[in-house]
Symmetry: C2
Subunit: 582 residues, 2 copies
């Protein structure tokens, strides 16, 4: 029989109450200080760090270096001067015996929460980076959220069902990752962008309540907050209306926030209409931890002499208190880069000084208009007012909304250590495609229009709203979903409005449309972004911090270097070839 | 606000205790019998079927057909004659009101446990097939096993970590599914065959205990018991020896069997050495619910005059009781097809009659030898003895073992309604590759050799055993794993024995070998096959019965028809091309 590696305790668990106990611990050597007559070792395991004291004159000490693994037999002793930086800082282990279990090469990064290693190096040596307590904690948080999902949804009678990863390619939406088929050469599976249609089929199958912690794949260009694959807590339920579905989802969030960060979420959550989110926060995921709501100045400003305003269909403004002094011309230019991004030329900027407005456009306004603006904005001397204008509502609102968020961060206006959860509900059903100008579904063509808008489907489609909702936490979209159409006539009408001929429907998702004909229950659901939830609950803005082995911005796994070229034989057997660069 | 679909109860939940209650249920119409003054409806939901009685003269009844969805308001009444076939059979719902929720086309299969539809049709209309109670139950079983895994391993301090699905391709073992990279054209990810190396890196990272319910992918030719992807309950732990790891795994199995099928597994489980499994059961996954152990007749039969025996290095036999009369020449020919599959010419067959052996080869034996065979086999008149022989131990043992299993099934010798769990331990570390004749690792090159065999590594490698183990249930391999090498010197020696040069190592898994240098803890683990466990616990031999949307033998999803050809543009953007058939 092979050896036993006895442990009585975890390094990070030891406390004052353990003083006097004989213990055996195993861990990695975090640090070693040799004072001659005493050697101090910081010993680390997943649970934390404990200090070990060895008297070389009494105890045989093997040659140990950083990241060596040792087993320590000893007795817990109270420290004269507690180390406030360690949870175990009240005690230390006085060693009787030290056994070397494994050696280590000199690690290329400092394994400590205040490491100075670049993210590139940390990702390359991820197995060392993950030894840092701050990283471990994020994965413990992630695992706790997942466990909450399993507990909550199974106890509410949801069935955990695994849907296929080798799926059909969907010819719209984001780009699919393809998987060539060897048995059917020239054909391809796609990795699923979500289990959407499969979970709806499970409702057709009468499963009533389904959930899955599912990996999803999108071959889009990568950004700091995006990975090629991500994980959804995916749920779907039958015979429930919008309120009931949101209440079910809220119960999960309440449990997660309580169990993971001991935060009490007050239920029911606020519902904000999509239109209000856009009009008042310039966002479909408003951060309501601070005010600075958008104010509509259209009625006031389109009567001024300034041509750009007169020609603008939409004029929105925000007020920022007490920053008049520091708002230089140069800073305004900086902000205007953001305006450009949203298709606006600039943000008009006014300072409120001496009970009037200051700024280059004031000359186009009469005293009445100036007074009205100050009043509408409820502005005081020292405040600054930014005004965005243009003919595209989305661009104007989202442009001013982006400035609102930027200023709030810059000026530290966001209430710290709190979580602000709300639903944004009733998204539009249709939008104009930016590329083609055609009418397209905002979510997918199976999203159910609001009953009261059904009569407008053909006459005024862009004013039709859907039973579609997002859960927004601290300005992040942490999940979303919708009710689905179960009425065949409505479904047919939507297809016609989207210009989908029977042939195209059959080709795209005929198998799914067929399924809906056999007694489809009213159903709906949503998906929570597990990565996003973990980021919010573990306080990081970097999605790579919550994925054990993430890809870098080039889509490469820095540990393994995947993807890489494969043998030609491997491709031949799949019936594919690499296109040679000319 | 959209409509509410009120339910007070589930169809399948109603019992005698509910008599007199007013209820609202929703379900699918399973069956409808119109007796004129009374209409009987069998109404079905995920929880079961309940009978509804409608008096058309009192209650307005919409036109309803099979698989229509209706909501029924009514009162529970005791049935005069209980229906023993239904769990709800003591009662019926006398309807006050029936509301039609959705219609259905005529379903192409009979939705009932005794459906006569072919598997092809059932798979094509999987969303209808899954409405059958026997199918639903399998997915409830599967979900329960998964939930047990999450509960058991989290409560034992295992961290659930998700490892990458876009992985490096591993140049040996089964064939990988490849995923072309768009950002790095000409390069490919592979879908992981298992999270093996990533979970070991998590041990290097100090996670101490890891688990994951992980999808795994192998592009092998499909068989009835094989799917392109399958699910593992994957675990790994540090600082534990073989006994401790097996005990940890047993705790999980005990919980699963108790919670899912209320079966008490007696712990600790039996350990059977791999060599004993092969010698006595002719299998590395012996079914020990019945006897018929293999007997070694080499010492007796190689002294006979029969050339094939004299030339055979291995001779193994089984005895089957009381089948002499029915063992015709024709039947023997049938069995010999099985012998051929294992590289043997035939099974020699003797009937025991009149206290001696009967059979064509008896003429080569003297009375002493005949007597010895009867004695060694402990045979009685009416028994039949089958003898396999040859020079390849594996072929002879597994060939006779396969006959043993076949005869046991044929003759119904297997104790029903029981579960027989055991560990097969200490698999060989190396084997000869069937294709190349080279020495290869039985599991993978990181499997740890038994301490007592270390000295034989170079001198007698095929007699080196590993700390490798499989969990065997009712003759199925339900999981397996091993301890991993953590000693760099041993690892180096294994690489050398396998003929891996430093260059090849670097190319194949250099990143992993590098990781092992930085303080690797002693570690090991295993993976349970979730599909297999579900099959065992829900009593099916067909893996497609436990996968919601399985592939057929051509690797095609019968519902969606995936994989299929994609637009040329989609391939171009990935830098690949389809090789045209000549």
């Amino acid at each position: 029989m092979n050896e036993k590696f006895e442990r009585t305790n975890r390094c990070g668990d030891l406390r004052l109450a353990d003083v006097g106990k004989s213990v055996i611990v195993i861990g990695w050597v975090q640090k070693r200080r040799n004072l001659g007559s005493l050697v101090f070792i910081d010993l680390r395991d997943r649970w934390g760090i404990v200090q070990v004291v060895v008297k070389p004159e009494d105890v045989e000490l093997p040659d140990i270096r950083n990241e060596y693994i040792i087993q320590v037999f000893g007795k817990i002793s109270k420290k004269d001067v507690p180390n406030k930086n360690l949870a175990t800082g009240d005690i230390e282990i006085v060693a009787d015996k030290v056994v070397l279990i494994n050696t280590s090469e000199q690690p290329p990064i400092v394994i400590s929460d205040d490491t100075d290693a670049s993210e590139d190096i940390r990702l390359k040596y991820r197995y060392l980076d993950l030894r840092r307590q701050s990283m471990v904690n994020r994965f413990l948080t992630r695992a706790k959220i997942t466990k909450c999902a399993h507990d909550y949804f199974s106890s509410n009678d949801f069935v955990n069902v695994e849907t296929p990863y080798l799926s059909p390619s969907t010819p719209e939406g984001a780009r699919d990752y393809l998987v060539p088929s060897r048995l059917k050469k020239g054909s391809f599976y796609a990795l699923p962008q979500s289990p959407q249609l499969f979970k709806q089929m499970l409702m057709v199958a009468g499963f009533d309540r389904y959930y899955q912690v599912a990996r999803c794949f999108r071959d889009e260009d990568l950004r700091a907050d995006r990975q090629p694959d991500f994980t959804q807590i995916d749920v779907e339920m039958s015979f429930m209306n919008e309120d009931e579905i949101l209440a079910m989802a809220e119960g999960f969030l309440k449990k997660v926030f309580k169990e993971v960060v001991d935060f009490d979420v007050q239920l029911p959550l606020r519902h904000m209409e999509y239109d209000d989110a856009v009009n008042f926060y310039g966002s479909d995921k408003p951060d309501t931890r601070f005010g600075m709501k958008l104010v509509d100045l259209k009625d006031i400003l389109d009567k001024t002499e300034f041509g750009a305003w007169k020609d603008s269909k939409f004029i929105k403004a925000i007020k920022i208190e007490g920053i008049a002094e520091e708002t230089s011309r140069k800073k305004q230019d900086e902000y205007n880069l953001l305006a450009n991004k949203f298709g606006m030329k600039f943000y008009a900027c006014f300072k409120v000084e001496n009970d009037t407005l200051e700024g280059s456009l004031v000359k186009f306004m009469n005293p009445e208009q100036i007074k009205n603006v100050i009043q509408a904005m409820d502005a005081k001397n020292g405040d600054v007012i930014f005004v965005g204008s243009g003919n595209d509502k989305h661009n104007v609102c989202f442009g001013v909304g982006a400035l609102r968020s930027m200023m709030a961060k810059k000026l530290n206006l966001i209430k710290p250590n709190t979580f602000d959860l709300l639903w944004v509900v009733h998204f539009p059903l249709f939008e104009k495609s930016e590329e083609t100008g055609e009418i397209v579904a905002v979510h997918h063509p199976f999203t159910r229009p609001c009953d009261e808008d059904l009569s407008k489907l053909r006459t005024d489609p862009f004013n039709v709203y859907a039973y579609a909702y997002d859960i927004v936490i601290n300005g992040y979209e942490a999940g979303g979903g919708s009710l689905r159409i179960y009425d065949q006539k409505v479904q047919q009408e939507i297809f016609e409005i989207l210009g989908l001929t029977p042939e195209r429907i059959q080709k795209k998702f005929g198998w799914f449309v067929d399924a809906l004909k056999f007694g489809t229950p009213p159903h709906g659901g949503l998906a929570f972004g597990l990565d996003r939830l973990t980021m919010i609950l573990s306080g990081t803005d970097n999605i790579r911090d919550v994925i054990a082995f993430p890809k870098n911005l080039a889509g490469v796994c820095p540990v393994t270097n995947a993807p890489y070229p494969v043998d030609e034989d491997q491709l031949k057997v799949l019936g594919i070839d690499i296109i040679k660069e000319k």
